[in-house]
Subunit: 399 residues, 2 copies
Amino acid sequence: MGTSTAVSGDQNQTSASAPHRSEALSPSSPCVVFPDDAPLRLESGQHLAPLSIAYETYGTLNAAKSNAILVCHALTGDQYAASNHPVTGKPGWWDALIGPGKPVDTDRFFIICPNILGGCMGSTGPVSLNPKTGKPYGLDFPVITIGDMVDAQVRLIDHLGIDQLFSVIGGSMGGMQVLEWAARQKKRVATAIPIATAPWHSAQNIAFHEVGRQAVMADPDWRGGNYHDAGIVPKNGLAVARMAAHITYLSEKALQGKFGRNLQDRAARSFSFDADFKIESYLRHQGSTFVDRFDANSYLYITRAMDYFDLETAHGGKLANAFVGTTTQFCVVSFTSDWLYPTRDSKAIVHALNAVAANVSFVEIESDKGHDAFLLDEPEFHATVRGFLGAAATKRGLA
Amino acid sequence: MGTSTAVSGDQNQTSASAPHRSEALSPSSPCVVFPDDAPLRLESGQHLAPLSIAYETYGTLNAAKSNAILVCHALTGDQYAASNHPVTGKPGWWDALIGPGKPVDTDRFFIICPNILGGCMGSTGPVSLNPKTGKPYGLDFPVITIGDMVDAQVRLIDHLGIDQLFSVIGGSMGGMQVLEWAARQKKRVATAIPIATAPWHSAQNIAFHEVGRQAVMADPDWRGGNYHDAGIVPKNGLAVARMAAHITYLSEKALQGKFGRNLQDRAARSFSFDADFKIESYLRHQGSTFVDRFDANSYLYITRAMDYFDLETAHGGKLANAFVGTTTQFCVVSFTSDWLYPTRDSKAIVHALNAVAANVSFVEIESDKGHDAFLLDEPEFHATVRGFLGAAATKRGLA
């Protein structure tokens, strides 16, 4: 096995084709590179090398290395959970949750947030250069799974010399990684908080992802995945994919309350195809800003990994088998208005954990904000995370 | 006012750009043309002439012309409610409901089903030739409303010499037309059955339509709406729009029950972007077959009309005002698992009708088939329609 090397990225192969491209090849954050002689074996049977994992940390690792929390991000998230995004300049996506004195307290814990395998902010993904060709992988990148993402994160945790994570936390696809960590690395996960997630991807979830992928692939600028060569990005297709996905992130009630049938900057219908309604304007904005910070091929690969996620089938058709022998303490969180990963999905996780007599608490948060609630300032949710981590830390003798 | 002329379509301007194009310009069904000197005044203030309304009929109009039922179709429907589709060859979309001895009994009633204004099966729409240019309207076609569709249908009913319709029936957007008929033509509608519909389009409904429109407009083959000139159609964009919409037509439970995570013609995941899952294969099929029978610009105009539909705002902010003075007998039908137009939307209609002491019955059908239930063989739904029409006909002395 080779020696991993910490780099800060100086590959120089940046391109003007998209603002995020330079971050993919040369991230602003720390990045560890595992060399060619230590390939990552993927679920598909393929091997990937070299492997880069870009990550951010917040807080300080204690001498016993016992206060580390791994934060796993969702589909379009990245390592900048609690720091400004290098492309958009916006605060971290979990800035409300992570920081000094916040529910995930950086005065107490050492938080590690890696960009996932397949991502586009510095970890190896389809934008990365294929060592065989010197060009971006594109569709030559192997199809990956949530388990592969976790195996790549294990490399990072090994590199940081951490034996056991005090906690693994994540929402949505981040929650799927939490479940895979708990299933694959039973001794290395003291506590786990899977939030607004599911043990498998439903037909409806797959359907929405397939619409998004077809939208990207229908864009002639996608060019079979080789758009980087041409210095372009399939922005129209990716924007449509983002718009469709965004509908699933909000509850019907939240959409109605936030936008209703209100018109955008006009007193009456225009009798045209302008964005007459606020909801149209909002979606168009979501679509158009997304393409500046995200890679279209990464979107294809990550949605595919989510569709492939089925912890039950992977464990002989019995979800509880995934957790046999677990000593992890779980806190499962769902939101009442989340129709992407509804409470019944979280309950399936809880039932499986109960079946193996795991230590599990379950909290369903009353919220009308839909799936996105896990990213927002939901006091009851924050109190739940703060309380669970605080009690578990005290129990484990953490300062 | 000019004289309407019945034609069977011989304009000869057909094109190979899409199989449905010839039907748009020269429909297989009867078609009535209202000439230039009888323009239709639209809600936008614009005027449309000439106006063609293509329609099918089933059964026989009695001597008193008192047994006529107008059937209003939904977004992607057409006049072929109970006869084979001239492009696809498939049975009519409401073949289960309309026919001899069926709930809408052609032995007893005379059924009229017009293609809507803005449609692409022979009624005037964006595929029609603009008399000013001799070319298809494209985006020069005026933006229309559900009310405009109804006003165009009124012309047809006048042409057929029918004073009062025994019933106006429709599901989804067809139900919106039913409501507009009841509001605009109070004396001409004896009974009305709005099914799986709403008195206004919600933010979530608008959002899904906007995604579809952006998918169409993002397709370079759309060419600003002038694709017919180039002999092409924006099939990729329209297919994506159809796929996204199709998800909303089925309930989550129906998708899970019908497809679940089942694989399509394979034993294991392919680790590729093939249609591994049955749900992916199904959606791709829905998208690719749709483009052969539907016009992309019609899709834009009709979804826009639906988004603009808000019977409450149109009546001074009070829905009940739409029905003041009504003598129509209503039967409002919803389906439990319909999340596109959920039961609460139907209840809003019922409450408004109650507020003006209208004669209304309301039936919520238990079904796990989602919005599409109104097109399917749902015994309780069919029994409801049969019972309501039968009792009303007997009451009115129809044979």
